[in-house]
């Protein structure tokens, strides 16, 4: 954690220390230090089996760790548990909808907290509308699609107006369309600033697009944490580089911003990239070398960014080739040897480069 971040950070509301979860001899979780700050979005990122869900449940005090303490606001132990139950909400990867209508499910948490009936009804309807399931209120909860069920579960959590919202892989079980739509809505939910969000996900795009801070877990341990751009730019090790996809970047200036995409200019070339910034701002654009597509001739295809470049170096790396390019800036691509043979790559040859907008991430400088 950098000092700059600490200075900017709002106060900690949820802190875990020396958290350990064991399954026999095996260590499922061993986290010395984790904190959640008021109003922030914290992503817990890692591959399947890294301990994300476990950490999330331990932080939410739904699962008792084998060691360590959780402090929530000023409380610990049973008092913290009690307080968390009243002021947090947890959305499971496979949310359970109780037998009954959607409305009854969304009202469930409020009823558990003994809210007055009329405000319960109103709050539930608002939450349903916010998540786009207002039309489904009188449907049987068991008749919903996966995406609808996930939205109802999130609405049910949001209706509680929690101070901390825990989301466990909210989009993992959805098809591509439902997933994209849900992530977009989650962004609104997460960023309304009224509550802290702790999001466990194996998907770096989700993690980076939503998070203020990211914790990367591997084998139950934190391997790196920080702002997304820090992880992107300075991966602590190749594992994080692989997880975050961050390796290389270039500087650019924002020309336009619309629909979550930016048009940036660098080396006299315009690129379409993912990110949020004001026009005129300077940004850093990061990408992964394996996301570059190389071809001998210009191909009109879906990637938004296409330019010609010259090969300045070809270096074998195992079964892969690492190719340095110049043209519209400096680039590094990684391709297979077979692809390199087909393209007859050699130093000095001209090549077309394509890269999808979603493979280019802009961060404020």
């Amino acid at each position: 954690m950098t000092s700059r971040e600490a200075a900017l950070a709002p106060s900690q509301i949820l802190v875990g220390r020396d958290l350990r979860v064991l399954a026999g001899e095996k260590i499922l979780l061993d986290v010395t230090d984790v904190e959640v700050r008021g109003g922030e979005v914290l992503s817990i990122l890692g591959p399947n089996g890294a301990g994300k869900s476990t950490l999330l449940r331990v932080l939410a005090m739904l699962q008792k760790p084998d060691g360590g303490v959780i402090r929530y606001q000023e409380a610990e132990g049973a008092a913290a548990d009690h307080l968390l139950r009243r002021t947090s909400a947890f959305v499971f990867q496979r949310p359970h909808l109780w037998a009954g209508t959607v409305r009854e499910n969304i009202e469930l948490g409020l009823r558990l907290r003994r809210h007055p009936p009329d405000s319960t009804r109103r709050t539930a309807e608002e939450a349903a509308t916010q998540l786009g399931v207002g039309e489904l209120l009188d449907r049987d909860a068991r008749s919903l699609s996966g995406g609808e069920a996930q939205r109802v579960a999130i609405a049910r959590a949001m209706a509680l107006e929690p101070e901390v919202l825990f989301l466990d892989e909210p989009a993992a079980n959805l098809d591509v369309m439902a997933r994209a739509a849900l992530i977009e809505d989650l962004e609104h939910v997460a960023r309304d600033g009224r509550h802290a969000t702790v999001l466990a996900t194996h998907d770096r795009a989700d993690a980076f697009s939503l998070a203020d801070r990211v914790i990367v877990l591997r084998d139950g341990r934190v391997v790196q944490s920080g702002r997304p751009e820090d992880l992107f730019e300075n991966p602590a090790d190749p594992f994080i580089a692989a997880v975050t996809g961050a390796e290389l970047s270039f500087r650019a200036t924002v020309e336009q911003a619309r629909d979550g995409l930016l048009v940036v200019r660098s080396s006299e070339t315009e690129f379409t990239v993912v990110g949020s910034a004001e026009p005129g701002a300077d940004v850093k654009v990061a990408y992964r070398p394996e996301d570059l597509f190389l071809s001998r001739v210009e191909i009109h295809a879906s990637p938004r960014n296409r330019f010609e470049a010259q090969v300045v170096e070809v270096r074998p790396a195992g079964s892969l080739l690492r190719v340095r390019l110049e043209g519209s800036g400096r680039w590094v691509a990684v391709i297979t040897r077979a692809a390199g043979d087909e393209l007859s790559l050699e130093v000095g040859s001209r090549i077309w480069v394509q890269v999808k907008a979603t493979a280019l991430h802009a961060f404020p400088v």
Binding site: A89, P95, H96, L108, G109, L112
Partner: protein
């Protein structure tokens, strides 16, 4: 060893089906046995309990290898009913007035009274009615009057047997219509009635032979004996409706012959120090009539009349059944449901053995449960001092033991069927521990309701254990199933059918309610 959706075909539905089939078969069974190599002997429980019948039958069959004897050991009333319907070829009974009526109406012929012993009034050694001190040559009616006046507890067979008929005629002579707390109608055979009297410290009218044979296991004394009213005469009658009149005649002739009379004269001497029966000189009456008659009353019409006319006996038995099984169900539920929930929701060291025990409980044969409860509650048993045997408490205890494991096992299975993290998810929405458990239970509640309903069906249709521990006492432990058994034996098919119909209706209502409940969605949560 998990059971799932077992409630779909609850085990008690077999009981209901069996009762229905029994009724149907019993009624259609008017056709007689066409076999000429078998003769059916309808006789009394008292003769069977002494072992005399077995001895006689063995000797007869040894001499007549071509003829088998099938003994139906029932009360005299039922034996006469069997004879009327042609289900027995020969009767060996002991109720002279009823026998005379039987032959007079053309159902029997060649009635010969050929052996005797005597009735006695037995009771606790304390003799609260002071029968020992009475001084009247006709001891029977006098003793009954003394018992009634003292309000001392008395067990009646209550099954239209020869002994019961004799008791009734003695009450008539005594000028008393017995009724009240002190007067218990067992509705069972002689042995069971004696056991009941012994347990409940009651007086009882019995034939001396059965009392002698069972004296080792009974705590009863002979308190009144002798006098004309206590004479016990046995007769043999050929039925006119029987299927094997030739076989009947051969068996009758043999019974009245030297070999059989010789066996009867000495029977029991070796074992009890004196013979149990003596012989009555007889001359052979001849048959008065040869009319074959059949069972003619329509029992279904009678059953319908009973049900629509608020017959006190039928509705008393129904009410008794519902209240006993209701109480048993309540107890079984408050024990079984939390036990099943605990086994499903928590992990503790002895969990596996307890689960195994519960699953074993599922397979308890009801009769064995009845036997175990009997041993537990009998005067010699560990809980004897409670005096629960032959009371509703004993029946309730047996039914709880039967239904409790069932409800626990179904609860366990139902809760296991709910996603395992449902309580965690409830906690994630702010539920405290108890609310989380309730939310878990709620997801399984259709199965839980089915479990409880099936448990009710199981206990209300149970008969074996109830008969053993309850004793079929009218107004106390006589429930629908035991009453059906008794009334079928007595030949009162109308009552039996009426009760069977009520039992079926209850089964139907339970299933209908379950169906409606399961088909319906969630109503207002009663949780928050």
């Amino acid at each position: 060893m998990r059971i799932r959706h077992r409630a779909k075909f609850p085990p008690w539905s077999h009981g209901v089906i069996a009762v229905t089939l029994g009724l149907v078969v019993g009624l259609s069974g008017c056709s007689s046995n066409p076999d000429t190599d078998t003769v059916v002997l309808g006789s009394t429980t008292s003769l069977y309990d002494t072992g005399l019948l077995e001895t006689l039958v063995a000797a007869f069959e040894a001499e007549h290898p071509d003829l088998k004897v099938r003994v139906l050991s029932v009360g005299t009333g039922q034996a006469l009913a069997l004879g009327r319907r042609g289900d027995a070829d020969l009767l060996l009974v002991h109720a002279p007035p009823a026998e005379r009526e039987f032959t007079r109406s053309g159902h029997g012929r060649s009635r010969v009274t050929f052996m005797r012993n005597d009735f006695v009034i037995a009771g606790p050694d304390e003799d609260p009615a002071g029968l020992r001190a009475l001084d009247d040559p006709d001891r029977g009616p006098t003793s009954l009057r003394a018992i009634a006046e003292a309000g001392a507890s008395f067990v009646s067979r209550g099954d239209d047997s020869g002994t019961h008929m004799r008791e009734r005629s003695m009450w008539e002579v005594a000028g008393i219509a017995p009724a009240g707390e002190w007067y218990m109608e067992a509705g069972q055979g002689m042995g069971a009635s004696l056991s009941l009297a012994s347990e409940r410290r009651s007086y009882v009218l019995t034939d001396r032979s059965t009392l002698t044979v069972l004296s080792d296991v009974l705590d009863l004394e002979v308190l009144a004996a002798g006098g004309p009213a206590l004479e016990n005469l046995y007769s043999v009658i050929e039925t006119t409706a029987g299927a094997n009149p030739d076989g009947a005649a051969r068996l009758r002739d043999w019974l009245l012959g030297e070999t059989a009379l010789g066996l009867i004269r000495v029977y029991g001497e070796e074992r009890y120090g004196r013979p149990l029966f003596s012989l009555v000189p007889f001359d052979l009456e001849s048959a008065t009539t040869d009319v074959r008659s059949r069972f003619t009353i329509n029992p279904f019409r009678e059953a319908w009349a009973l049900l629509t006319s608020a017959d006190t006996y039928v509705w008393e038995v129904v009410f008794r059944s519902l209240s006993i099984s209701g109480a048993a169900l309540f107890l079984a539920t408050i024990i079984g449901l939390p036990l099943g929930a605990m086994l499903a929701l928590s992990r503790f060291r002895l969990r596996s053995p307890v689960v195994a025990l519960v699953n074993t409980g599922l397979a308890f044969p009801p009769v064995v449960v009845g036997l175990a409860v009997y041993m537990l509650l009998s005067r010699a048993g560990p809980l004897g001092p409670l005096g629960f045997l032959y009371t509703p408490y004993a029946v309730i205890l047996a039914q709880v033991i039967l239904a409790g494991p069932y409800i626990a096992a179904v609860t366990l299975a139902a809760l296991d069927g709910v996603p395992p993290d449902v309580r965690q998810q409830a906690r994630g929405l702010g539920a405290n521990q108890w609310q989380a458990i309730l939310l878990h239970l709620r997801e399984a509640r259709a199965s839980l309701v089915a479990a409880v309903a099936a448990g009710f069906g199981a206990v209300i249709s149970e008969v074996g254990a109830v008969m053993i521990v309850g004793g079929n006492l009218l107004g106390e432990t006589r429930v629908m199933t035991t009453a059906i058994v008794l009334e079928t034996r007595r030949g009162n098919f109308g009552i039996a059918i009426a009760l069977g119909m009520v039992l079926l209706a209850i089964a139907f209502v339970i299933n209908l309610a379950l169906m409606l409940f399961n088909g319906r969605g969630l109503r207002r949560p009663a949780l928050a």
